[in-house]
Amino acid sequence: MANSEAPEPARGRRVIVLQADFLFHKLAVLMATVVGITLLAAVAAIGYDSWPAIKTFGVLGFLTSSQWDPVSRHFGAYPFIVGTLVSSTIAMLLAVPVSFGVAVFISELAPGWMRQPVSAAVEMLAAVPSIVYGLWGLLVFAPAFANVEPWINDHLGVIPGIGRLFQGPPMGIGMLTAGIVLAIMILPYISSIMRDVFIATPVQLKESAYAMGATTWEVARNVLLPYTRTAVAGGIFLGLGRALGETMAVTFVIGNSDNLSASLLMPGATIPSVIANEFTEATSKLYISSLIYLGLVLIAITLIVQVLAVLLLGSLRRRPGGAA
């Protein structure tokens, strides 16, 4: 090393190597920063574009007004907020119990050879694009459902109190149809998380309960569910986030009406569906801005749900091949 010329070229290369190292590191930091600020940037950009509407209608005025009238240029979000919450509630009421059933069936009841194919099939529901759900919902499911609706009218519609929810013309499309299609779409997300945590429950816990003579149902209810309740809640919130923001499938089957109706068989609209439906037809600056403002309201709703989901799921990271 002490010799005269030999170290020179070596040192020269070392500098180049260090620079490459430096550049690679900085590039990685830059990209990670870009990823880290996207959420903030999205909220800021959407907030900026909805500013004209915020200035005109305010916050409370926009949220509580149920008048959506492009002609008189008055826009209110109330019917769409209600529509979003109602359709998602229907979806959750249907999807959560079914997902629980699917998850327990796969993890506890199904014979070994059945588990893999059944899980893969249920997860395939998550791979079907929402546009196909919409197409199927509008052209196949809604006409079929229209045949069931008279029965709903006659049997559920006569129940005192909640009967009003199930009275209406049998059109096939409407709030209830949207809720059902949403339920099918979020089923794989909720059930795959439940299944994963049920399978990951320590065998000793399950086996000791079985050894005490507990039945499968008792193990599911008294061992699996209490042990995994945080992750199960996380999975439910994840599904809810999906349902709230789902656009295309809902746009196809909800009927797109900005009139609020007491009946679930009547057409309605959600925040995403009205944006998707009217965005390209919006003519005035204020109209577009109001639609983007609706998007801002949607972000506020979904962000709360998503943050809860991520926090509840915590260290439980979804697998790359999974539905997430």
Binding site: A41, G101, P129, E218, I292
Partner: protein
């Protein structure tokens, strides 16, 4: 038999049947959706779909060529942006960030973006690209799709790189390899199959996305490859055609849905095979 035991058995039988029924409901809807798409899609299949462009309203033409080409262009743009950004960000998380507060914050934001409704991504891209540019364009559609794709790639890259053993890294460092060489030549290679799977899954995810394209790439009735102009794409064409009263348009919507599903299932199967062969080799 003791009555209590009989009751517990009956409850268990009832609950088990409900769970079995729940699984059947899920599989029933999957079969129904796939079967309709396959049946109606197959009957609507015709060579003209790939050779001719979308017809004008009301005439009996048949073709989706511009939509297929447009979708491929959009996916190409998304890959060109999404893969480098996602790969480098995921690499930073796994190799440099580790468990630091900053890294966990990036992971948290990435998790939120992973499940963010795609319509919000569409509005975001509209606000940062379409609004300033003043018109809809293919490039903004590609950007919107890349924003959807990046969180998936970041997540899988981060997790797959963490699976590569520390010994390999240490051996390379001990031989004097600089960090960037260790990462590009050792850890990336070790996690190759997993990272590729992540990219394929993200591609499957964006290939059917419609909502973000409505506000960015929009649609184009004609064949176009211009990045600065609106471009036809399969999902938006399906949306438009399904809502239309024309018989041939609805048929084309089914054909398009069929192609989209076949594309997505092929990608999913490929990614599973890649992952399996990688597991077998190690």
């Amino acid at each position: 038999m003791i009555p209590l035991y009989a009751r517990r058995r009956a409850v268990n039988l009832f609950a088990s049947s409900l769970m079995f029924a729940a699984t059947c409901i899920g599989l029933f809807f999957l079969a129904w959706i796939l079967w309709t798409t396959l049946k109606l899609g197959m009957t609507a299949m015709h060579w003209d779909l790939f050779l001719k462009d979308t017809p004008a309203p009301g005439n009996g033409g048949y073709g989706l060529r511009n939509a297929f080409v447009g979708s491929l262009i959009l996916m190409g743009i998304a890959l060109l942006i999404g893969v480098p950004v996602g790969l480098m960000a995921g690499t930073w998380l796994a190799e440099y960030g580790g468990r630091s507060r900053m890294a966990n914050l990036v992971r948290f934001v990435n998790d939120i973006m992973l499940s963010a409704p795609s319509i919000e991504i569409g509005l975001f891209t509209y606000a940062i690209m379409v609004d300033p540019m003043g018109h809809f364009s293919a490039i903004s559609g590609g950007v919107a799709l890349s924003i959807l794709m990046i969180p998936i790639i970041v997540r899988t890259t981060d997790e797959m790189l963490k699976l590569v053993g520390g010994e390999m890294r240490e051996a390379a460092i001990a031989l004097g390899a600089p960090m960037w060489k260790v990462i590009t030549h050792i850890t990336w290679k070790g996690a190759r199959a997993g990272i590729l799977t992540g990219i394929l899954i993200s591609l499957a995810r964006i290939s059917g996305e419609t909502a973000p394209l409505l506000f960015t790439a929009l649609n184009n009735q004609f064949f176009s490859t211009k990045l600065g102009a609106p471009i036809a794409n399969l999902p938006v064409v399906i949306f438009q055609f399904a809502m239309s009263p024309y018989e041939n348009w609805q048929q084309m919507a089914w054909a398009g849905a069929f192609v989209a599903i076949v594309f997505i299932l092929t990608i999913s199967v490929c990614s599973r095979l890649i992952l399996q062969s990688a597991v077998k080799r190690s």
